[in-house]
């Protein structure tokens, strides 16, 4: 008897969920900030994938006798202090940041979501311990912590991803925990417990899909921070080593030319970083609007 009653209920729930996502997609297509952000991010993704075909020159090949040439038909963005084509370096430079930033954010999101789910679901001593540890990590600025770790163990792309990812985890854990606390009071969670479902099942199969909205928004917000943090670490010399065309590293290598009004080796990578950060933030803003409706 109960099975006869539950099947239509499940169907109705699934259908309602599909409808909600269709509605969200429609809303998304009518949200300019989300569309603009997505378009810019997509542009950089395409640049990263097709860099070898798009870039007019080898980004690593110095041509020291033609250094610091201003933008021209031959070099649209000019050349840098070693005579390398700035446009080619900006195009190739998208690869590093568009791999490292999403990976770091993903790591932080997965870790933070797991911590938040466990703390919000179990409450009591488990929550107290996890949240106090999280608070302790939140008290440390991410960049300062990252600098300390990188100075101790040495800089590499993998280390940067790990450090940024672990730095984001406590922030995401707090958001997820708050969402889980309200979800855990709802009937479907009580029903799962009454069915004697195991805790991981309840957390990851029942609750997680219902807190994905905040998790997605937090992911996109953190992605913008990750781009900025990685560029900052590269600028400070803790990222990908030279002669890689990394944007932050390029700014660090070339900024002294600004004194002599040679602006192009710095301006274009700086604009590239700014465009990605702004685009990701616009996307996060738009996504938040869509999910809140």
């Amino acid at each position: 008897m109960s099975a006869v009653i539950s099947f239509p209920r499940l169907e109705t729930a699934a259908s309602a969920r599909r409808q909600a996502w269709t509605e969200r997609l429609r809303l998304a297509l009518r949200t300019p900030s989300l569309l603009v952000g997505a378009a810019v991010v997509l542009f950089w993704i395409l640049c990263a994938i097709f860099a070898a075909k798009i870039a007019p020159y080898d980004p690593l090949q110095p041509d020291i006798l033609h250094k610091l040439l201003p933008p021209s038909a031959a070099h649209r963005f000019g050349t840098d202090g070693l005579g390398r084509d700035v446009l080619s370096r900006v195009i190739f430079g998208s690869r590093g940041i568009l791999v490292a930033a999403p990976l770091a954010t993903l790591l932080g999101t997965v870790g933070g979501t797991a911590i938040g789910l466990v703390a919000g679901y179990f409450r009591g001593l488990v929550e107290e311990v996890l949240m106090r540890i999280t608070d302790a990590f939140l008290a440390l600025p991410t960049i300062v912590t990252a600098l300390l770790v990188l100075a101790a163990v040495g800089g590499s792309t993998t280390t940067v991803i790990l450090v940024i990812g672990l730095g984001f985890a406590p922030i995401i854990a707090r958001t997820v925990r708050a969402a889980v606390l309200s979800e855990a009071q709802l009937e479907y969670v009580e029903a799962a417990k009454l069915r004697q479902e195991r805790a991981p099942y309840v957390m990851f199969v029942e609750i997680l899909p219902n807190v994905m909205g905040p998790v997605l928004v937090e992911f996109t917000v953190r992605l913008g921070y990750a781009v900025f943090a990685i560029a900052t670490l590269s600028f400070l010399g803790f990222g990908i080593p030279p002669p890689a065309p990394d944007w932050g590293l390029t700014i660090a290598e070339q900024y002294t030319y600004l004194i002599a009004n040679l602006w192009w080796p710095v301006l274009f990578p700086a604009l590239a970083i700014a465009s990605v950060v702004i685009a990701v933030n616009l996307f996060a803003d738009g996504l938040s609007q869509v999910l809140e409706r």
């Binding site: 020291i64 006798l65 202090g81 070693l82 080593p241 290598e253 002294t256 004194i259 009004n261």
Partner: protein
Amino acid sequence: MDREAQRRLDEVRKGRTELENNAIDELIAGRVSRREFIRFATVLGFSMPALGVVLEACSTSSTPTTSGNIKKGGRLNVGHQTPAGAMDPILTNDLGRLTILGQCGEYLAWSDSNLHLRPVLATSWTPNSDGTEWTFKIRQNVKYNDGSGPMTVDDVVATFKRLADPTVTGNNALSNFKGVLSPTGVSKVDNQTVKFTLDAANGNFPYLVSSDNYNAIILPASYNGGWDQTFIGTGPFKLKAGGYVVNDHVSLDRNPTYWDPNNQPYLDGLDFKFYDSEPSAILAFQAGSLDVYTQFSVANGQGLLTDPNTTVIDIPTSAHRQVHLRVDQPPFNDKLVRQAMALAIDRPTIITGLWNGKAQLANDHPLFKMYPSSDTSIAQRAQDITKAKSLMAQAGKASGVDVTLYTEKVQEIPALAALLVSAGGQIGIRITLNLTDSGTYYDRYWLNSPMGITDYGHRGVPNTFLSAPLLSTGTWNAAHFANPTYDGYYADYVKAVDLSAQKAVSGKIEQLLLDETPMLIPYNYDFLTAVKKKVSGLETSGMGHMNFRLAGITS
């Protein structure tokens, strides 16, 4: 040569040793240039009048001097590198400190930008016939900048005994004196004379007691540390009361008791402001906060080189970047691979592109063309990619090798590293860069890396460059080069007192180092100082000294 000139030359010859007369003969015969003669004669202790007589007799003109229209008084703001440690003469090993030492302290002789020695606290010096003993006459009636004095021969003896003492912790002067001078070798002859009895013959010894050995300012015999409290010395400036704030600034006032009545400083004082970052200092200079900024790089100083309100003092030096190739580890344990790497480098292009021409070609050994003792007949190594690839194939490395290049993020060094990556890439030497701060590089990687770029400052003679990084027992031997033949050549070079003997050994050393290639030296770079147009009379040296004694503000 007319009869009067010949007569005066004969007069000069009478008072000279066999070694000095040999140098005069070399000049007359045209075997050494005027420049080489002047430089060598100053090492041997020719006085300036005697030198003038010889040059005049040989129909050459003396160096013209210039004087600006400088007014008395005023202070100058000087931008300078932050000292790397405690302000102590014996511990000093960096530009930040040595420039300050040179304002308050003085040396027995001054090594000028042409590598000529000028008497300062010594009035003259002479070697014995084999260069194992050098006798210095010490200037009298010289007072210290705190009013005490006069400086005595005992002060000079005590100063050099301390500098030659291997038991003094952190004694930087040992880089010059190790194996050359022991404390027992310094003795007082009389109240005006000091004798240095060397551990081994050394034809270039006067440079080691000159401003080239920046640790060697003369201090009172009673000195027992704490220089940063007193800034004591015989120099033209003294510490202003409360004028030293560590890592921030030093303010100096004119020394009213300065010993030379004819060359009293024009300036009332100097205010040195320390900078950790070159771009910050350049911005301060451009904004007018500084009147002088010492040693800037072409990479960062493009704006200064073209500024119409700035005079750039440009001095060719023996300062260089040394790329060590560790000979006892793959991939550079095969000399064919080392030679291939050397042949992949386009030196003239690097000098033009990286230095705007403000550097000179070097030939992968430290016997630079600027040294009179170098053998300039040895061919300059040039880029030859075909031959480099062939050497790689001969070494069985046609498929290429991988190596990590370690270095410091200082001035143009990262750019040079990037160019080496590109050069190596052309012949299959795949270089990965590891750039760190200077402290990490020198603590962790310098002497323990397969390949590295190290910054070497200027020296008036090549002895230190030939010993510390290349001798089997060398303390800076990053290449781990151990070659008994080379060690023998070095011993021969050091004990050679006359120029032709030095040149003969130099040729052998240059050929051996080109063949073995334990290091790459692509260039010597110029020492660049930016000075506002209103400042005149500043004399700089390749070592990084700044002589403000005759500097001032033009009216």
